[in-house]
């Protein structure tokens, strides 16, 4: 399931729903992304996430479908927020449920790595120096690269 929303989400409740009524699920793995309080040595006041709604849904659906084609998953979940957030706020939740831990853990790792380099979201941080668009990191590209099937 995919949800792109301004509102916060309840991690515990979302994870419970992922395996509810499915006793084949032996494990659920997840990653929760949060807004940090510092940009380098500058305190972050707010972080705003912009996105491309029509493409976001499509890109996330492709990422989810790719995970489900690679691992035997009972269910997957991607929730990504947009709009203005503050330090400590949740940004993203990815989770994967499977019969066994390896598939669940690897799939959750894959989901966040691919999302970071493929889903059309952009972060803008405001510090006492003003607003600044966050630059993409080459380490994120490298993290996604390792999931490319050779």
């Amino acid at each position: 399931m995919i949800r792109v929303q301004a509102e916060d989400f309840d991690v515990g409740r979302e994870l419970e729903k992922l395996s509810d009524g499915n006793l084949d699920v032996g494990g659920v793995s997840c990653f929760v992304g949060l807004v940090r309080d510092m940009a380098g040595d500058k305190p972050i006041e707010t972080m705003t996430l912009e996105h491309y709604p029509e493409m976001t849904e499509k890109a996330l659906a492709e990422i989810e479908a790719e995970a489900r084609s690679r691992w035997p998953l009972a269910d997957t979940l991607i929730i990504h927020r947009y709009g203005e957030l503050a330090p400590g706020d949740r940004i993203v939740l990815v989770a994967a449920a499977s019969a066994h831990r390896q598939a669940a853990i690897e799939a959750a790792h894959f989901l966040i790595d691919w999302l970071k380099t493929k889903a059309p979201f952009w972060k803008r941080e405001v510090t006492p120096d003003g607003g600044q668009w966050v630059d993409a990191r080459s380490s994120d590209d490298a993290a996604a690269e390792r999931w490319i099937e050779k």
């Binding site: 491309y52 970071k116 889903a119």
Partner: protein, 83 residues
Amino acid sequence: MKLLYFAWLREKAGLSQEDVTPPDTVATVADLIEWQIGRGGGYTEAFSDEAMVRVAVNQEYVGVDHPVAAGDEIAFFPPVTGG
């Protein structure tokens, strides 16, 4: 065709979307970027560092050789930073 701009490309271009009819010689994404640079002002600035511009045609990532046509939705944006 409908053009969309996001993040700092939107700020530099000075708008989030517009409908345009480029000349017939604009057949690919590369042609379209070249045409944008030639429009001057914020457009020239937005597209000055082509390596920082990502393009999606009808919500799919494409390379600069991808064709563009009337009726397409073409989005320009910097490398993504979600998650």
